[in-house]
């Protein structure tokens, strides 16, 4: 009896999950596909986004992502290297940094938005700009980058390090010639994961990079990310749903591609390590 009940619950739950998700994805495809075309991708929005496309929005998104990853990647990589290679000499500091990164990963995105608005936009005087938005996202992506890169460095077989030490290589040579090349797939996977997260983020951008839907001229211009565009079309623009759904489809497709690439990398990396 209990066997039967458990089986029914398990099949039922899985069926429900598949149905709900088919509904969600089907809805995005069904309402998004009619608005999607090459023209949509390469023309600028017009009439508050109801007409035209998303070219300037895509460009703005790329700029924001470039700032975010360009800042978070060097910082995250250096942090991961320190945690993996030098941290054991200062275990207290290592513990503090690890704990701080764990807490940072749990901070709600709207709080990043509050911080980014108050610190980057107001205190540093960057205003609503690509720079403010990108730097805010960099703070958000930092824990993921450090964790995934760190896991990659730690997965490098101990023999490799011991061999390098036995050969009398300096740590710099070991790192640049052995560890980083071995951990490269993890580094790429971490970067892609960070890009995926940043691409999905909306709440932290509304009050940092802002709403302006023109082509950005410099990093000090306010610009609208794709996710913010979807929000704006859905909530603030009557009749903007069609283009909102088309934009949502583009965003989901982009994130899907990034996730697939991450998976392929992670799988290749696990195979090469074992």
């Amino acid at each position: 009896m209990r066997d039967r009940l458990s089986a029914v619950a398990a099949w039922g739950a899985a069926g429900l999950v598949l149905a709900a998700f088919a509904w969600l994805i089907g809805d995005v495809l069904w309402r998004g596909l009619p608005g999607l075309s090459w023209q949509f991708l390469v023309s600028a929005p017009a009439d508050a986004g109801r007409a035209g496309g998303i070219a300037s929005i895509l460009l703005a998104t790329v700029w924001i992502l470039a700032i975010a990853i360009g800042t978070a990647l060097p910082l995250g990589l250096a942090t991961a290297v320190w945690l993996a290679e030098f941290g054991h000499r200062q275990p207290r500091l290592q513990g503090h940094v690890n704990h701080a990164l764990d807490v940072l990963a749990g901070v709600p995105s709207i709080v990043f938005g509050l911080f980014g608005n108050a610190f980057f936009a107001v205190t540093l005087g960057l205003g609503f700009s690509i720079l403010s938005g990108g730097l805010t996202l960099a703070c958000m992506a930092l824990p993921i980058l450090v964790r995934v890169t760190g896991a990659g460095l730690q997965a490098v077989p101990a023999e490799l390090r011991q061999g390098a030490a036995a050969c009398g290589l300096t740590q710099w040579t070991t790192l640049s010639r052995l560890l980083l090349p071995a951990a490269l797939p993890a580094l790429l996977a971490g970067t892609l994961l960070g890009i995926g997260r940043a691409l999905a983020e909306t709440a932290a951008l509304i009050f940092t990079s802002g709403y302006v839907d023109r082509y950005p001229g410099s990093v000090f211009d306010s610009a609208r990310a794709l996710s913010v565009h979807i929000y704006d079309l859905a909530m603030n623009v009557p009749g903007g749903e069609r283009n909102g759904y088309a934009s949502a489809l583009v965003l989901v497709a982009l994130i899907l591609c990034i996730n697939l690439a991450t998976h392929a990398l992670a799988r290749g990396w696990q195979r090469s390590m074992s």
Partner: protein, 292 residues
Amino acid sequence: MSTPGRSSPPDGDAALRAVTGLAARLSGTVVVGIALFVLWQAWPALQAVGPLRFVTDAGWHPLAQPAQFNLLPMLVASVAVTLGAMLLAGPLGLFTAIFMTDYAPPALARLLRGVVELLAGVPSVVYGLWGLVTLVPLLAAWQPPGASLLAGILVLALMILPTMVLASHAAIAGVAAEHRLTVAALGFSCAGSLWGVLLPAARAGLCGALLLSTTRALGETMAMLMVTGNVARMPDSLFAPARTLTANIALELAYAMDRHRAALFVGGLLLTALVLALVRLARGLGCAWRHA
């Protein structure tokens, strides 16, 4: 760059250590900086209004004379949507994970996993769009106005389901294979081994899955902003519109000035405190905690 086999200058390692050490300290400081900065921005309100009035004022009327700053309706709404979503997504996610490990044919399990991973990546603004355009009108036809606590609960449940499924799946699949063989050898029934042995053995991971999903739900902004109706009043039924703490910040930060702005930061502080308390709780209960 040195050529392979040749060491860089002897002070290269010291420099490497110094630079990466600096980066590590900077990375560790980010979260402290955020906490202090949000506190600093909230301070004028905490000082001038006093912490007590954020729960005792007559309502949330930040622009009235005199201004009133009761955050309680938003706090209640946040907790209500989170609890409701967890009540739905918790068991559903757990059973889906059980299905994937113990019941599904391998091909179906792989398909399901792929679908769930895809959905874990769908941005919250897309869930919000779906909720706003598809779900809310359906609810409105049944129980107007549609944009309500219930809409928030349903969308949020769907949103955190992938997190719940993937984390519980990792926990259950992590229970050693020998465990399973022993249980089968002892002649336990399928359900008996599941409820008596496997789930208790996966306890730490499952509790981590629950609490991780809860923090995600509590911190969700966009989807809630789009489907709950955003009325800053104490919700009195499932079908009443409500405004979460997160949505309150997103709605008003654009035009808030002075004390009103500081009061929004108090909301952010409260939200962060709640999430950190949950993380603490997870640690205290010995839950396996894994962000990713």
